[in-house]
């Protein structure tokens, strides 16, 4: 019972389309893809520099210390944030059986996010780094632009849900609305200066880097899972109640554990210990959430081989489960003592931001964008993307996990520092190999996005009929 039938066409799948919504979703996806390709190209250069430290070192803006924050910030705020907001708009409108509250606001939001990422990239290249504080390196006025984009997004999502034609608010929207609201708080806490001097700023850094991942990217991605998975499988989520429980427990436990990024630092010991305790409590939402997704797909694992969108999402679920569980173990002091400061951490962040969030985004885009545009990517295209990305990220994470352990043990054994540098070399090479495969997969993804938007559509794929409106509200 959508508001204005005139705005609707009917796609080949029989789903009711809202062409303005489709354009918004496609627009967000296209810009996100562009940032993905750019930011991961920068990532490749950064990885290459570990083996060739004199490469591109004569121009300040091409040096490691400038490119690394460009890589992290543009994957976070250029790629992942923009892609997730596009998906969240689509999910909100469809699951509430209504139209987006305002396409104008959606475009303004997209413009703000892009402007922030562009200005941030230029600033970092020019050496205008706000303090090497991870994930908030952009000068604060630029972070304010991003925050404005988040405000616009939150308003638009909430107003869309407010005009829903369903009785309940579907679970996905709890997560996406939550994420959009939380990120405003996170950005604000990160910007205001009054409580950020010396050691005080260390506490805020622990809060910020942790929450930007776990209270923005995580809920947004989970929101997509709760919509796309039932949709692909044409069956409701296994347990709605478990999803609700995971939502509240994640909200209660996760923000408490930021200080585990600074174990053994001079931060107060109670803060560190609290962080460790609640890191264990995090197993409740993580295992609860993962089990919920896995049980939704119970008995249907054969379909994963049939449907790449499903395969992407299942890898994302696995990434969530393994990455978050690993996070809990990393928080134990005994393991931290070895792994902290090593490349193990870099492996961990790619397991979560890539294995979980990025695969989740891809699964969501492949599952939902064709519904919005009526155009499909080819099976070959999705397959090439999937396997390059899976193999590449596997090599990446495994090599850095082993290498990081070797590095940490070298230190424990009191070897001269340079030994740990030498011992890492082969693992850096393997990381580069994984990185190349990952980057190639992004080029294929870009091609697939092209086919789902402007390009020529491929034939509809098996399982696609199941994509009709239904399972998820």
């Amino acid at each position: 019972m959508s508001a204005d039938p005139a705005a609707h066409g009917v796609t080949p799948t029989g789903a009711v389309a809202d062409s303005a919504l489709g354009r918004v979703f496609a627009g967000y996806t296209i810009f996100a893809t562009a940032w993905l390709v750019f930011a991961t190209f920068v990532g490749l250069v950064v990885a290459y520099k570990f083996g060739a430290p004199d490469f591109w070192s004569s121009q300040p803006w091409l040096t490691f210390g400038r490119l690394r924050p460009i890589h992290t910030n543009d994957t976070f705020y250029g790629f992942a944030s923009i892609a997730l907001v596009g998906l969240a708009y689509y999910v909100a409108a469809r699951s509430c059986r209504t139209r987006l509250y305002s396409t104008g606001l959606a475009w303004i939001g997209l413009a703000l996010f892009n402007l922030a990422a562009l200005a941030g990239t230029v600033a970092l290249a020019a050496g205008d780094n706000a303090g090497d504080l991870e994930y908030r390196e952009w000068p604060w006025p630029i972070r304010l632009i991003f925050a404005a984009g988040a405000v616009v997004t939150a308003i638009n999502l909430l107003a869309t849900v407010a005009r829903r034609n369903t009785h309940d608010i579907y679970l996905s929207n709890w997560y996406t609305m939550g994420g959009a609201l939380f990120v405003i708080v996170i950005a604000t806490v990160g910007i205001l200066p009054w409580y950020q001097y010396g050691l005080g700023q260390v506490a805020v850094s622990g809060y910020f880097m942790h929450n930007s991942v776990g209270m923005w990217f995580t809920p947004m991605t989970l929101g997509i899972f709760y919509y796309a998975l039932p949709k692909l499988l044409s069956r409701p989520i296994y347990s709605y109640a478990l999803g609700v429980l995971a939502f509240w427990t994640n909200l209660l436990f996760y923000p408490i554990i930021g200080a585990h990024h600074f174990l053994f630092s001079p931060l107060p010991w109670w803060l560190q210990t609290t962080a460790i305790v609640f890191s264990v409590a995090m197993l409740v939402p993580v295992w609860g959430g993962s089990a919920n997704f896995a049980l939704t797909a119970r008995g249907r694992l054969g379909d994963v081989a049939q449907s790449y969108p499903l395969a992407f999402i299942m890898v994302g679920v696995l990434g969530y489960f393994v990455g978050s569980t690993q996070g809990t173990f990393e928080a134990f002091r005994s393991l931290q003592a070895v792994w902290h400061f090593t490349n193990f951490t870099v492996g961990h962040s790619h397991l979560t931001m890539y294995g979980f969030v990025t695969f989740g985004i891809w699964g969501g885009v492949y599952a939902l964008l064709p519904l919005a545009t009526g155009k499909y990517p080819s099976r070959l295209g999705m397959g090439a993307h999937f396997w390059l990305a899976v193999v590449g990220s596997f090599i990446y994470v495994i090599s850095l996990s082993i290498g990081g352990t070797v590095q940490g043990l070298d230190w424990v054994h009191g070897k001269p520092f340079i030994q740990s540098v030498v011992d890492m070399n082969p693992y850096y090479v393997w990381r580069g190999v994984g990185g190349i495969l990952m980057f190639l997969s992004h080029l294929v993804f870009a091609w697939n996005v092209w086919r789902m938007t402007w390009g020529r559509s491929a034939a509809r794929l098996p399982l696609a009929p199941a994509l009709a409106e239904g399972a998820a509200p």
Binding site: D128, G178, Y207, G258, T345, F417, V421
Partner: protein, 325 residues
């Protein structure tokens, strides 16, 4: 509508409370941490250097926090809350692709070394993967009066002209040399940290616990602490750091001078006709007598040297006599 208010409003309210509890309030309280004894603000030049450090992302490879763990003792005593009073933005960092720099001004307390290392780290540490920073230097035909060119080893020097540091390089090195830990404030690491954690390396206690035969211990200490300047092969860097291979002090029958130099440092001595611009750091505060003896015995026996060995007791005697000339 009510549902929306409950879900969105409720979760936002809870989240704001948690963000205050875990981010803002600890930040507020810890921002008041007073400076520890001997912790001083940076000079304007050093502060400028810190900005160069931030702009070029040195923090992505270097931490500035020493943990109360045995493997961190090579980097200094455990960091204390009061150490960070003047450090905004904080540069604690999260990765140690390179060593911790909290106390690097002591370990590598030579501007000459810092310049060579920044111009090309491979010139002093062949296995280094630290990027080179040539853009912090200028290549000129002749150094202007009052400016000492960096003595870059031939293999890394430009074909023509000499390498002089820019203002940014001077500021950065001033900052790096300022990174020295003041003595440990009374038993204070993280507030509330169990005292079972290793206690501070006060003067004279072991900094690097190494097991094994004395010569192996000496070699390890040398590689970690001395090779950056004197090089693993003991040949030093011509014009910058003297060779210890074949060196007169290291081969002299009387080891008193050798012990004295390692304990108390050295400045302005002409060695084999070369006068060195930068000082040799003092190591007496970092190492105990046995470690100093291990180091010295390694130097006196490696690379074809054949100086008579010394004992920890002899080191103790020189230490007790003090730094008088």
């Amino acid at each position: 509508m009510n549902k929306l208010v409950a879900i969105a409003g409720g979760s936002l309210a809870i989240y704001i409370v948690l963000a205050l509890m875990m981010g803002v309030i600890p930040g507020w309280q810890l921002s008041q941490t007073p400076p520890g004894p001997g912790v001083k603000p940076l000079t304007p030049l050093q502060a400028e250097g810190r900005e160069v450090y931030v702009a070029n992302g040195c923090s992505y490879c270097h931490t500035q926090q020493v943990r109360p763990l045995p493997q961190d003792q090579v980097f200094g005593r455990p960091s204390a809350p009061g150490d960070f009073a003047y450090q905004t933005p904080e540069l604690l960092g999260s990765e140690r692709t390179g060593p911790d720099l909290t106390d690097v001004g002591v370990r590598r307390g030579s501007d000459v070394w810092q310049y060579i290392h920044l111009y090309n780290p491979r010139a002093v540490e062949p296995a280094s993967i630290m990027p080179s920073f040539p853009f912090l230097f200028e290549i000129v035909d002749r150094a202007p009066p009052g400016v000492a060119p960096a003595p870059i080893p031939k293999a890394y020097a430009p074909a023509h002209g000499v390498v002089i540091p820019t203002r940014r390089a001077q500021a950065l090195v001033a900052y790096l040399l300022s990174l020295k830990q003041p003595p440990q404030p009374a038993q204070q690491t993280a507030a509330g940290a169990p005292s079972a954690t290793p206690t501070p390396a006060a003067a004279g206690t072991a900094r690097t616990p190494v097991a094994g035969a004395p010569l192996a211990r000496g070699k390890q200490l040398f590689e970690t602490n001395c090779a950056a300047c004197h090089q693993s092969n003991g040949r030093g860097l011509p014009g910058a750091f003297p060779a210890l291979a074949g060196n007169a002090v290291a081969n002299a029958a009387d080891a008193t001078e050798h012990i004295h130099i390692v304990l108390f440092g050295l400045q302005g001595k002409t060695i084999d006709g070369v006068k060195y611009a930068s000082p040799m750091p003092a190591w007496g505060a970092q190492f105990d007598d046995r470690q100093i003896a291990d180091l010295i015995n390694y130097e006196r026996s490696a690379w074809g040297n054949h100086g008579a060995p010394v004992t920890a007791a002899e080191v103790a005697k020189v230490r007790a006599a003090g730094n008088g000339k």
